[in-house]
């Protein structure tokens, strides 16, 4: 379980910030490592363990987001509750929860790239491996994602908390 000890925190954070749901996060962390251990023969060592684990987690969260999207297509059945339920993890940190909530409003691609860069501190090369994108696409998407976040923040706060250097 070396991989687990080394990368549990990273994988947990990535999934939590992608989905904003603590319960689902635990399930998907479990599923990520189970998939990794049971598909170890498919790991060809071309990428690092970290990028491989992130790419497995990415598939799981994208599937979940897709399912949520489909459920939202049929809203007449019943109200879908807000998925952000992480308050207990960030007690007395309203500003952090607010930032997380803004991240949740981004498109999934923006969300992924921004979490990998700003939270997980991955290099452009690592993000390109995880997302299976070119490095140019990573840079372009990151720039657009940060721009969206900045716009969102300015709109909600009516101020300029995000500096130009973001």
């Amino acid at each position: 379980m070396d991989w687990y000890e080394s990368y549990y925190d990273d994988v947990y954070r990535f999934i939590l910030f992608m989905l904003g749901d603590k319960q689902l996060c635990e399930d998907f962390v479990h599923d990520t490592f189970v998939r990794a251990y049971t598909a170890v023969e498919r790991f060809d060592m071309r990428s690092s363990v970290k990028t491989w684990l992130f790419s497995i987690a990415k598939h799981l969260v994208l599937d979940e987001i897709r399912k949520r999207k489909r459920r939202k297509l049929f809203p007449f059945e019943k109200e879908i509750p807000s998925s952000l339920n992480v308050e207990q993890l960030f007690e007395h940190k309203e500003a952090v929860i607010e930032l997380m909530s803004e991240i949740q409003k981004l498109k999934p691609n923006y969300r992924m790239v921004i979490i990998l860069k700003m939270v997980e501190d991955c290099s452009t090369k690592e993000i390109s491996d995880i997302l299976d994108w070119s490095e140019a696409k990573v840079r372009k998407t990151l720039s657009r994602a940060l721009h969206s976040l900045r716009k969102m923040s300015l709109k909600e706060e009516g101020g300029g908390q995000f500096g130009q250097t973001l």
């Binding site: 379980m1 687990y4 549990y8 925190d9 947990y12 954070r13 939590l16 910030f17 635990e26 399930d27 962390v29 479990h30 490592f33 189970v34 251990y37 049971t38 598909a39 170890v40 023969e41 498919r42 598939h59 994208l62 599937d63 897709r66 399912k67 489909r70 459920r71 297509l73 049929f74 059945e77 019943k78 993890l89 960030f90 940190k93 500003a95 952090v96 930032l99 997380m100 700003m118 939270v119 997980e120 501190d121 923040s153 300029g160 908390q161 995000f162 500096g163 250097t165 973001l166």
Partner: protein
């Protein structure tokens, strides 16, 4: 970046999940791995390989002997016994059946809502079902384990958009399966039906690859795919029976089918465009996975 936001990013970076959860999840992972089929853990438990092979050999030989005794023993008066629809198996490992008020309900592991049903219906009931429900597709599935008629119903429910109905004749009755999409992926539904085996009723085994359409689409997909990742524009499947040869045959089959023209190819990738020009599908075989990338050039996002 403003200092205020710098601090928030830093707090997100420094966030550490509660340690008690780490241990709980670790335990769950171990438990799941222990319960996984041995074939999925070749490097973790290599000594078990031999044991599994031996067991399989004994099982196959035993079944063979049992079949011989069966055939040579009793006279074949009941040559065509009815199928016991409650006793069946298939290759879709994580979908199992549970008794319900009327027949069986199908559940997928970790899901509390049923993903399908199984029951026996009369000819009359079958006609009523197929006439009353909004069926958009009706098709005989050739070379499946049992003669199977498929219908696809358009459904408007929160968690179901299509319901697959399969009817298998059994004397004067029909064995009737339903599966809900997207509770199960298309590939999973066809994997179930193409590996279905009723106890006591030998299934037909076709020696060539079978192909099906997913949903209302016209692109052909091999039967036997296991979904790895499905998103709006990209689908990745494991293809256990796949090989370079099988992939070439698959591409030839698409080329010979109506509706798709090859736009480009190179290496193990082929790009097809639908004859109306509204859909572009790139298919790549990487030796382990079959990857589909979809583009809809004439539609707005």
């Amino acid at each position: 970046m403003g200092k205020h936001y710098d601090d928030q990013w830093k707090q997100l970076q420094q966030f550490q999940p509660p340690s008690y959860e780490k241990d709980q999840i670790k335990q769950r992972i171990w438990q799941t791995i222990r319960e996984e089929p041995v074939k999925k853990l070749p490097r973790i438990f290599p000594p078990l390989k031999g044991l599994v092979t031996t067991c399989l050999l004994i099982l196959i030989c035993g079944s063979f002997l049992w079949l011989i005794f069966q055939q040579s023993g009793e006279p074949q008066t009941a040559a065509n016994p009815s199928i016991d629809y409650e006793n069946f198996s298939w290759g879709l490992e994580d979908v199992y059946s549970k008794k319900a008020d009327e027949g069986l309900e199908l559940f997928q592991e970790k899901q509390s809502v049923p993903v399908g049903t199984v029951k026996e219906v009369t000819e009359e009931e079958m006609k009523t079902i197929t006439a009353k429900l909004p069926m958009f597709v009706e098709k005989e599935l050739e070379h499946f384990p049992y003669p199977t008629t498929m219908y696809i119903e358009h459904v408007k429910m929160m968690d179901t958009v299509q319901r697959y109905h399969f009817f298998i004749p059994d004397k004067e009755k029909w064995i009737y399966f339903t599966f809900d999409y997207p509770k199960l992926e298309y590939a999973e539904i066809f994997h179930a039906m193409s590996t279905l085996t009723f106890d006591g009723k030998k299934p037909y085994s076709h020696d060539e690859q079978l192909y099906v359409n997913h949903g209302y689409g016209s692109m052909l997909f091999p039967v036997g795919l296991k979904p790895y990742s499905i998103t709006s524009y990209k689908e990745i499947y494991y293809w256990d029976e796949g090989s370079d040869k099988a992939y070439s045959k698959y591409i030839e089959t698409i080329l010979s089918s109506r509706g798709w023209e090859r736009k480009a190819f190179g290496g193990k990738s082929h790009t097809f465009v639908s004859v109306d020009g509204n859909e572009v599908v790139s298919i790549t075989w990487n030796g382990k996975e079959l990857i589909y990338e979809f583009d809809y050039p004439n539609s707005e996002e």
